[in-house]
């Protein structure tokens, strides 16, 4: 009912201001990854601040960056991955909103404050973070899942049943670290071993595809390179699915909320940054996409099944081998793309 009234009001307002600028004062336009934003969170924000929120999806950091660079997008907020934030800052695309001086900043886990990509958090606030590892159906293979060999040298039981998500950065990083290199290495000795290993492993894979949550749960795949939150959701459907942390190293990533320098409604955007640092609101984010959020005290508001989930809580022994992989410099990227192309030819 109120929504109808609001809609009619909005329509009337639109008609009145039709000649003027199209942006009404009370809108906030968010540009975020698809299937990543809890509608309940948005509704709560709309009601608290009496504002209309729109959400537009993107499916990769490159897509988002390209669109924003092109200009004329009308977005206030974007949620890039850590590796992309320095690029946004370098190109002057973000507003220095000083989240570190906001009211709710006290809730941010100290671990996520002095981060490489935004030291002291002058631009961004944590949204969600996670890891890329391997998911294994333990009914098919009951050995130790905590190894990159699940896809680099699959055990007998998994041959012809392993998927590798076609996410170049994650796959290459795990494979390079398994050979003892740094994720963005340009060391050709290491890269050659990586290439040979990947090319030799490929015939043992069933596919290189997305959609692991469903395909692991149903049993199309018995194992896959996969993200932790997705594996968690697969396990809720199929209890045999377990998540492994490659002990030679695995990527850790975080997506953060930033305000664009050409935001139409910067005040509201800042209010949103402050809003998502509130533990109760951060819990809403996590309960939807099933990743951890970096806000202290949010656990108590999360669904019971998340609290001790092994996919979310990184076991002590593997915590130190998680690596934040930066966006590799052009030289390293060229080598990675060449190997990746060779792999899929």
């Amino acid at each position: 009912m109120t929504r109808t009234v609001k809609a009619i009001g909005a329509a009337a307002a639109m008609t009145l201001v039709a000649a003027g600028p199209a942006m009404a004062e009370g809108t906030l336009n968010i540009f975020n990854w698809g299937n990543y934003t809890n509608p309940d969170l948005i509704e709560k924000f709309e009601q608290a601040f009496d504002v209309e929120v729109t959400i537009t999806d993107y499916d990769s950091n490159t897509t988002a960056l390209t669109k924003i660079k092109a200009g004329g997008h009308g977005f206030d907020i974007v949620v890039p991955s850590a590796s992309y934030i320095p690029i946004y800052v370098r190109d002057g695309l973000l507003m220095e909103t000083r989240p570190d001086q906001m009211e709710n900043f006290k809730h941010v886990d100290p671990r996520w404050i002095d981060v490489d990509w935004d030291p002291g958090r002058h631009y961004t606030v944590p949204w969600q973070w996670g890891t890329t590892g391997v998911a294994v159906n333990s009914a098919v293979y009951s050995g130790d899942p905590n190894t990159a060999d699940i896809f680099l040298d699959p055990p007998e039981e998994l041959v012809g049943k392993v998927n590798v998500v076609p996410e170049m950065s994650d796959v290459m990083s795990i494979a390079i670290m398994a050979e003892g290199g740094e994720a963005c290495t340009t060391d050709k000795e290491i890269l050659k071993r990586v290439r040979d290993k990947l090319v030799a492993a490929k015939p043992k894979w069933i596919s290189m595809d997305y959609g692991a949550t469903e395909k692991l749960a149903i049993g199309d795949w018995a194992a896959s390179v996969n993200w932790n939150g997705s594996t968690f959701r697969a396990r809720l459907e199929n209890p045999d699915v377990v998540y492994g942390y490659p002990k030679t190293g695995y990527p850790v990533w975080m997506d953060s909320v930033a305000v664009l320098s050409d935001a139409q409604n910067p005040e509201m955007a800042k209010a949103f940054q402050n809003f998502v640092m509130d533990p109760e609101n951060a819990a809403l984010i996590s309960s939807f996409a099933r990743y951890a959020n970096g806000i202290m005290g949010s656990e108590q508001y999360m669904p019971a099944d998340m609290k001790d989930a092994p996919e979310i809580k990184v076991p002590e022994e593997f915590a130190s081998v998680g690596v934040f992989v930066p966006e590799c410099p052009p030289e390293a990227q060229k080598l990675r793309t060449a190997i990746w192309t060779e792999l899929q030819k």
Partner: protein
Amino acid sequence: MAQPTDDARHGHAEREAARRRVRANWLLSAPALAMLAFAASGPLLIMLVYSFLTPGDYGGIVWKFSGEGWFQVLFSRDIFDETVGLADAHLTIFWRSLELSILTTLLALVLGFPTAYFIATRPREQRALWLFLVTIPFWTNLLIRTFAIMELIRNEGVINSILLWLGVIDAPLQMMFTEGATLVGMAYVYLPLMVLPLYAAMDRLDFRLVEAGYDLYATRLQVLRKVILPLVKPGVIAGSILVFIPSLGAYVTPRLLGGGRNMMMGNFIELQFGQGRNWPLGAALSITLLLVVMLALVVYVKNANKGGAGHG
């Protein structure tokens, strides 16, 4: 001859009318031409320009001339010993796409020809219904149809479940993520594009000629080869072209049904604009694909016409 003759006057008026007709035709096509210039040529020009620029460090382009994009289409420097060689990865990917497109076209033709013949030989009032049935799949989004096919062929899917239940097999057949799955999926998706032009050609086919063929003691195969095929050839050509071109750039179907382990041209181009961050190469590859398609079409149509004239 101070005065023009009647004939000349008449000719003059006719020329004038013709000129007016031409002008009117141009005016009438102006909106379509403007649309084409804007929506088809514009982006192509941008691609052409981009293919000669330098890739930006994090995607995009830098406004500095470079032939590297085009060089990389055919040649590659070995990343380990820096020797320059033919880019066999690119050629392999291109050949795979080409092969798949040809097979898709052939399969669609084999399936579409009898379908079109069947429809064309129904009583006239029934044909609209049959054609309507052929177009039904177009109502649904391609992605949704592809996901539906996956539901059929996956290991726990409908087909495997039925076969297991009947006891025909005792372990699920691996159909998903195979090249066969991609081929069948593609043929399914593009089949209507083959059936419709074939039907259009068969609709005009004079079936008395077919009867005449039989009366002259031609076998069924001879009638098909010597009577029907030459007459519906324009339909075969049109259908093949309509299926072949989109197949070459197909992206969704190979990725979902084939499992994406082996790249197709479409996926490869996407890689350059996305994770590969090499837009000039992506642009050059797109234009190469376009040129190859155009070349293939010209050769095909020319040959087909020659063949047609021989029969005429």
